[in-house]
Subunit: 244 residues, 2 copies
């Protein structure tokens, strides 16, 4: 957007695009990485799974649109949705990605702890959590978007505090470790993981009060909250080779 712009600025002349947001919403349930998908009720790609999303409104930023759609389509309360971690992924703009018209889509990644079943709000014909990889081919270019989002989540666990976004407000170090293990598909050494996390300033902060609670059997674990930090230094690298 610069000097290139012809004069006049007739919006209809220079506004041939629709802009949408697509959301790759991840959660951890049953020790698996799961994605929120909606089943399309109309052509094209009728009955295929697709990422939730929708049009950006005329007076709305893409960030706000993503937040709004998140609340509408997950069926969560606005307040809950407002607390979910939401992050712009990238923009997909292939001219033929939607056969109906020219649509540019800004994709977002959202993360949350074990979220409730969808449905309730929104007008999606059907919506569900599906374990990543168990859904068939998605509508439009959503397979690419979803794969990009998954890669990004895995990579960002290494050098940001993102993992806490998969946990409830108060969590044990075991839960935090299970986030890494589930997303990366590896096993981490419990003692070393604990030391590493506690040694990283601002990653987690112990909960005062009764320093104990349990999640099932075994010794009750101490509770922590997310610390203020956003970046992780030094990073928590995954074992062996990388993928990216």
């Amino acid at each position: 957007m610069n000097a290139q712009a012809p004069d006049g600025y007739d919006p209809r002349a220079f506004a041939p695009f629709a802009v949408t947001v697509d959301l790759a919403v991840f959660t951890l349930r049953a020790d698996r990485l799961q994605v929120l998908l909606v089943r399309r009720g109309e052509e094209p790609y009728k009955d295929r799974w697709a990422l939730p999303g929708g049009f950006v409104l005329p007076r709305e930023s893409a960030d706000r649109a993503a937040r709004r759609e998140l609340a509408e389509e997950t069926g969560l309360s606005e307040a809950t949705a407002a607390h979910l971690h939401l992050e712009q992924l990238r923009t997909y703009s292939d001219p033929d990605r939607d056969p109906r018209m020219r649509v540019v889509s800004v994709a977002y990644t959202a993360l949350g702890p074990d979220l409730p079943e969808p449905r309730g709000g929104g007008d999606a014909a059907d919506a569900a959590w599906l374990p990543y990889g168990t859904h068939g081919p998605l509508a439009f270019d959503h397979d690419v978007i979803l794969a990009d989002a998954r890669d990004r989540v895995g990579a960002r666990l290494e050098y940001t505090c993102l993992a806490t976004a998969f946990c409830p407000p108060e969590f044990t170090l075991g839960e935090l470790r299970r986030v890494y293990e589930t997303v990366w598909g590896v096993e981490l050494d419990r003692p070393n993981f604990r030391r590493k996390v506690l040694a990283t300033p601002g990653f987690v902060r112990p909960v005062e009060g009764p320093p104990r609670l349990t999640g099932g059997r075994g010794k009750p674990a101490a509770l922590y909250r997310a610390g203020g930090a956003t970046a992780l230094h030094p990073p928590l690298l995954r074992p062996e080779g990388r993928d990216v």
Copy 2:
């Protein structure tokens, strides 16, 4: 983009957006990080510096538009511009970012070795390389975009092979090290840097033939080319605290 879409699909009804690309083009000249800026010839922000960029054409992806604008506005040959490293940064969509109309901009970061003076192609009133930080406030939200781009470049040096994009096809390890030192604003230990780089598989590949060439005074250095790798494992972390 999904079930939300009302039926009918009258492009004029759902296409109130213009889409542009903005480019943050960096190069290293005179041991400084420099940015390519164009001076605006029209209102708004007349006479202010701005990032080069332009409208995405109706049948063009944002990636292609960025590549095209890169060639047009840098005055480089299409062939040269085609080899520059170009990467999507993020999308800026504040409803009021352009006072004239609703414009969503996909920002890109481009990197190149000591590039020639701009001008020649394009219709920008004026274009120049300016050391990062020496330009006044830019037009629109370009200050934010440029700062984001600069942060990203610094961060990506840590865990990708991006630094080679700042070097000519064949380069010495001294030149590569100077990339890190200039962008990060630190001094690195030469012997350790050398070992680190050579120990990273796929980062650089020695040039066969006469393994020598000089850049000035001092012992002639061996030449290298970029290796095939794109990610860096383990990462090359910058000293002391981080900024992000």
